[in-house]
Symmetry: C2
Subunit: 214 residues, 2 copies
């Protein structure tokens, strides 16, 4: 496996200055709270503690900010995807990938929701080739070749559960570790993966950064 830096190339991820990172993180939080369509340039500037003029120096348009935020978040899953693609056993690969994805979603909660369901974000990304390629790799790992309607529906349901459940008011009081465990049970059931007492499950989990480095 190549060094971590490879993710940048594969996703078309540009390196960002410190000021740009502050902007993107402020934007991410606002997008999650209000939705992309209801977040203004002014709000982002205020949250970053600088003026609009400063932000416009970093990103020429609002769309550029949206795309950059999406790329920043997606890049965090690129590692996991590469690791999964390098696995021989497809069950091990899927278990590993699901663990990382659920970890990421639980860590971000509201942000995961935005990314999956915000109409403005989704529309912008649907015209963004690097994003499309990434999603196709992701889906490929999760369903494989069989693309019958039942598989498609289960895969769609899986992405909804991962992106939506973490931000749901019903689980607001559930602590991260419990949420992680229960969500993994649900998504394993959804895609027909055996539960974690099996050999494949233990093998995959032992490869996550949570217990050991990739």
């Amino acid at each position: 496996m190549t060094a971590r830096g490879a993710q940048a190339i594969r996703l078309g991820f540009s390196s960002r200055s410190g000021a740009q990172m502050r902007t993107l993180n402020a934007a991410l939080a606002l997008f999650a709270e209000h939705g992309v369509g209801a977040t203004s340039y002014q709000m982002i500037a205020d949250a970053s503690g600088v003026t609009k003029g400063a932000i416009y120096h970093q990103f020429k348009t609002k769309d550029e900010i949206i795309i950059a935020v999406a790329e920043m978040e997606l890049a965090k899953l690129d590692d996991a995807l590469e690791a999964a693609e390098a696995e021989d056993d497809s069950d091990v690969a899927r278990e590993l990938l699901l663990n990382r994805i659920v970890d990421h979603a639980v860590e971000h909660r509201q942000g995961a929701n935005t990314f999956q369901f915000d109409p403005v974000l989704v529309r912008l990304l649907s015209g963004h080739a690097p994003f499309q390629r990434f999603v196709e790799r992701l889906y490929g790992m999760l369903v494989g070749d069989d693309e019958g309607p039942d598989k498609l529906v289960r895969l769609a349901a899986l992405t909804c559960v991962v992106g939506g459940t973490v931000a749901h008011p019903l689980v607001a009081e559930v602590d991260d570790e419990t949420l992680r465990t229960q969500m993994l049970n649900v998504v394993r059931q959804l895609v027909g993966l055996p539960q974690p007492t099996t050999r494949a499950g233990r093998a995959a989990r032992s490869r996550t950064p949570r217990t050991a480095s990739a």
Copy 2:
């Protein structure tokens, strides 16, 4: 069971004029397509074929339109909820309710998504008492008394699957009947309901408007 009209009182649903209904349907379609935050009063007026002034005569603020759209959609599920609450057998009740909810979601696709995940809509409704009462009744029917973390997570996942899957790009090409069937399989599995060959399943489905009147 009371007459159909009862739904209006229970949800706080006001009766609307023809012009108001045209406005609400136009707004619903735009909310689904662009998100609530990215839909302007002007867009709604254009889609309705009238001017902003005419719309302001029907609804004093944009928030009023949003609430009215939500009430209109929710009222469509009120019937199903009442029917489920009148059932003795909780498995039959849940099977019936899930059938109706999935029917409704598949029928609307993009609209169901908005309703579940749009940040502006969700925030507005969270301060709207009739909506809160309705959702609590709905959740009560689906989980019952046991409110452990696993049940909460599964219920949250259920609502995400119902609201999100129907609008997912992956299932855009799946026809309504297939989507309905597959989604029901998924949601039954999520809440631990037996699959449809059982007595409870047949009994519940025989009570839906699809095969017989309630």
